[in-house]
Symmetry: C2
Subunit: 193 residues, 2 copies
DNA sequence: CTATTCATTGAATGTGTGTTCAATCAATAT
DNA sequence: ATATTGATTGAACACACATTCAATGAATAG
């Protein structure tokens, strides 16, 4: 028998889940609060007992969302190429086994290039720039001779856009076959002579 | 001295340009007709003398947009790997020299995964599936031994998501360094033993 | 058992936005 | 020169949607 508090906690997550799904498919502006409420199975008014506004709900999701990329960047960076292999592997793993985390990646990927999200969310997203630290790592790998020559920022962009784009596509179409993570790393890998 | 008809034609394109830019940055729902009108420098009401509705305006853009991928698929396909090299080269070339076409790619890329666009536009986008023909070409390349082993659909997804994601990012941030097209093709290229 | 808290609803409110329209003025045609 | 067409505006309209709120009833506390 679930206590009142447990029920509330459970519904809190149900809302976040439903909202995440809708925000990915329709975007922030096109997602109606009533859509989310309906997906969870509650009245629209009740949703405002859990989140004070649509904006706050979205921003809460983004707060969770930045943890995904952050965790990835916390992987062992001593060997740059190994880091990218592991990063790609992890993200694609989420896509198959942890749809919530996978959807978070998709959400972050969209938020990165959208001008139509709440200001608070925009600040959060822009505050965590994944490209600069990635470019630094790529530079290191280039010196070691494991990563191909070329503008590090451009290489970082290529790597992350592939990962994010694939994650986004697979979240929306889960039946699509999942690429292998080392294919993507081949964008960075130095080719043998 | 421009005639009345020329003026009208010119403004028609100005509207399409401004709308394209805003739709990419903000998405369909978050882009207000008044935003577009303001960007062009006309009253909101006047815009409806050029396009009967916001929906029609968006769908017109999508109609132009599908021509981009269509043209790419019309490139010579006799040598699969050469085709992908040329396709990647062309798309990235547009990003640098023809921002209208480049933005079209970004628009199509977004539309592909959005549930929040007009039905007419959705039909158009879904009607032209780029993945199936690409997968067929990949299969051919695999038989020839120029393309790596692996699920052809998954390889097609990887290739196009990289291209589209990069195009989208560069359209929004034109100052970002542009990757080299052959990096992306390395996702498909069979590695020497 | 009674009182209180609080989840829940459905209707009401207000704002924002797509669209329409009557009126104006400039360009073109006759 | 006059009439007609068409570009242009600003205000008006209607509708959709985020948010509020008073009322209800069930769970919990005392």
């Amino acid at each position: 028998m679930p206590t009142r508090k447990e029920q509330k906690e459970k519904r809190y997550w149900e809302i976040l889940n439903a909202a995440l799904d809708l925000f990915i498919r329709k975007g922030y502006a096109a997602t109606k609060v009533s859509d989310i409420a309906q997906a969870v199975g509650m009245s629209t008014g009740l949703l405002f007992h859990y989140f004070e506004s649509k904006e706050k709900l979205y921003t809460t999701l983004i707060e969770f969302g930045i943890q995904g990329p952050q965790q990835v960047m916390e992987l062992d960076q001593s060997d740059p190429l190994a880091f990218f292999e592991e990063a790609a592997r992890q993200v694609l793993l989420y896509v198959t086994i942890d749809s919530f985390t996978a959807k978070m990646f998709a959400l972050m990927s969209q938020a990165q290039y959208s001008d139509a999200i709440p200001d608070a969310a925009k600040s959060l997203v822009r505050g965590f720039n994944i490209f600069e630290p990635t470019a630094a790592l790529i530079r290191k790998g280039q010196q070691q001779g494991t990563i191909r020559a070329g503008d590090p920022l451009a290489l970082a962009l290529t790597f992350w856009m592939s990962i994010m784009g694939i994650a986004e596509a697979l979240v929306v179409y889960p039946d699509f076959p999942c690429p292998q993570s080392d294919w993507i790393v081949d964008v960075l890998r130095r080719r043998e002579a």
